[in-house]
């Protein structure tokens, strides 16, 4: 009898403890997503500009049928994939140097060097790149500049999200015992074989973990695109244009579901690799 009461009381305490975060998760987070999804099926009255709260598939029909939306979606996907791949290519040697080559002292400084830019404002960094990439800018006078456009967007997004790729790979490499690398060399494996046969397979979950950041942050970005993208448009820019200039909130919501769907598909795919345990 006493025990039952004790358990009951403990259940209440647990419920009270969890209520605030659960409320936050339920209302503020999932609720907002639900409203977004719901409003995507509404329309806007062309004359009054008022939201018509009636179920309609018109927004999605427009997105699927009109070529411009397909192009922007594919371009955004392409940018996200390119940024992720370049980040992997850059992060692997950097993280390897940090975790396995540098002295413990240098390692600390390198981690700090990787983390420091994350404190600086996103806008400042993007505008700094705008200056760097300008015609007749500093970069132009040394090696030439691609100018504002798709290439510039990929460069700047790669720069912005690179730390999010380096850190999980670095953590994965730190956990990789040196003896595994020595064992591979001992069995006749050269550096390249050791990398392909041992390091890379063990790092796959870490790389996927990093890619979740680089991919999703690139997919939804619109500020960098505005600053260095020239005429380039990505999904985020379409959402922004429809919220602001066009004042069509339901259509903006419909466009915004595209990256959400892509991310759900992507996360479901990488879940099998064990990447989610690496976050």
């Amino acid at each position: 009898m006493d025990d039952d009461q004790g358990i009951g009381r403990r259940r209440w305490q647990l419920a009270a403890l969890l209520s605030a975060p659960l409320l936050w998760l339920g209302v503020a987070y999932l609720g907002a997503l639900a409203v977004l999804f719901l409003s995507a099926f509404w329309t806007v009255n062309g004359f009054t500009g008022e939201v018509v709260r009636e179920f309609s598939l018109q927004n999605f029909r427009t997105i699927v049928t009109e070529e411009v939306y397909r192009n922007v979606t594919l371009r955004s996907l392409g940018v996200a994939v390119a940024v992720t791949l370049i980040c992997v290519a850059l992060a692997l040697p950097m993280a390897y140097y940090m975790a396995k080559v540098a002295s413990p002292r240098a390692r600390h400084w390198l981690v700090i060097a990787i983390l420091t830019p994350l404190w600086a404002s996103y806008l400042v960094k993007a505008y700094a790149w705008r200056v760097l990439l300008a015609n007749d800018g500093p970069l132009d006078s040394v090696v030439g500049t691609p100018g504002y456009g798709l290439i510039a967007v990929i460069i700047v997004l790669t720069y912005l999200w690179l730390p999010y790729m380096i850190l999980p790979i670095y953590a994965g490499l730190e956990r990789l015992p040196d003896s595994l690398l020595e064992a591979s060399a001992d069995l006749g494996g050269r550096a390249g074989q050791t990398f392909r046969g041992v390091v890379l397979p063990i790092l796959v979950p870490s790389i996927f973990a990093g890619s979740i950041f680089t991919f999703s942050l690139s997919l939804g970005d619109y500020i960098t695109v505005q600053i260095v993208g020239g005429k380039t448009q990505m999904i985020g820019n379409l959402v922004y244009a429809n919220v602001g200039a066009a004042n069509n909130l339901p259509f903006a919501a419909a466009i915004a579901t595209i990256p959400v769907i892509i991310m759900v598909v992507y996360l479901t795919a990488v879940r099998r690799s064990g990447a989610l345990e690496e976050l």
Partner: protein, 333 residues
């Protein structure tokens, strides 16, 4: 005279200000079971790593089968290593682990599968090939690591404290098996350990390491019965060191002497002393006796009779003259 499997000449290794290996000259014969014995930090593992090619010597050379390999990287040396933590690849199955060396050397798929299965059989793990290392026990992982090294048929197998993580029963069983495998395959084993029992029971020869140098090389019997330095006498087995006045009054000579505990008898005559400790250990009992002459002696007696000496009892110790070993170079007698 045949070329030694391994020849180390003037081998030194410093890490910053620390001298881990301070000049080692050593020849290991082909087909020998050779142990490097010493406390942690005595440089034995560093020597092994320089033979494997993981560490470059600061000075000196490493020759394998008469060929100088000092500058060769690990992947070009005909040796294989069993690591202390086994270092099995966690993403590969057991059979893929064993195959790794053959795959890297481009042995055709069917041949390497057959050889890997054979190697697993040799370590009594037939049928375990499909498992992941994480699903194996410590003793089984140990065997996988052994199979992974042996499948390449190296000239020399290096073992870095491979039994350290196993419990006592399993360790004793693996000691017998390792010795058997070494006899079967006939290759040189270099075995690093800090466990003197292990070194004594398994080896053809033992090198005792002390502070980056080899204090003594010899057969287990020679190292145990005729220790060259007080360190060897103390590290290999328990030994009763007699020095100074105690040495003079008990042996009649000047110098440093050692008497092994099992060579001493508690009897009705001999050097008088008081029992200060009685430690019962199953088959034997250890007595610590403080001799009136000033030395503290450990005596081991088999538990064959009842009514043994008690703590605080006055006893007399005897030993035969031939069991008194003089330690160090200058022979006074």
């Amino acid at each position: 005279m045949s070329t030694p499997a391994i020849r180390l000449s003037g081998l030194r290794k410093t890490f910053g200000p620390v001298e881990a290996v301070a000049g080692i000259d050593l020849e290991i014969t082909d087909g020998e079971f050779f142990s490097m014995l010493g406390p942690s930090g005595s440089g034995k593992t560093t020597v092994l790593r320089m033979i494997a090619g993981f560490d470059r010597p600061t000075a000196g050379t490493v020759a394998l089968g008469g060929r100088d390999v000092t500058r060769l990287p690990a992947y070009e040396r005909d040796v294989n290593t069993v690591f202390q933590d086994y270092a099995l690849f966690p993403h590969l199955s057991v059979i893929e682990n064993v195959e790794y060396g053959l795959k890297v050397r481009k042995v055709p798929r069917r041949e390497r599968r057959a050889r890997a299965e054979q190697a697993l059989e040799a370590v009594q793990l037939a049928g375990f090939g499909g498992r992941k290392p994480s699903a194996m026990s410590g003793g089984q992982r140990q065997r996988v690591a052994l199979a992974r090294a042996l499948v390449n048929r190296p000239k020399v197998l290096l073992l870095d404290e491979p039994l350290g993580a196993l419990d006592l029963k399993l360790r004793e069983q693996m000691q017998v098996e390792l010795k058997q495998i070494q006899r079967d395959v006939g290759i040189t084993f270099v075995f690093v350990t800090h466990d003197q029992d292990e070194a004594l029971t398994m080896s053809d020869r033992v090198a005792v390491f002390d502070a980056g140098r080899i204090a003594q090389v010899g057969t287990p019997e020679a190292v145990y019965e005729q220790p060259a330095t007080p360190f060897v006498a103390g590290f290999v087995g328990t030994s009763n060191l007699l020095t100074g006045a105690a040495a003079r009054s008990l042996t009649g000579r000047d110098g440093t002497f050692s008497v092994r505990p099992e060579k001493i008898t508690i009897g009705a005559e001999g050097a008088p002393g008081t029992v200060s400790e009685v430690i019962y250990a199953g088959p034997v009992t250890r007595f610590v006796v403080d001799l009136d002459a000033g030395a503290r002696m450990v005596v081991v007696e088999q538990n064959r009779r009842t009514g043994k000496a008690q703590r605080g009892e006055r006893v007399q110790l005897t030993w035969q003259q031939e069991h008194v070993i003089e330690i160090g170079g200058n022979r006074a007698a």
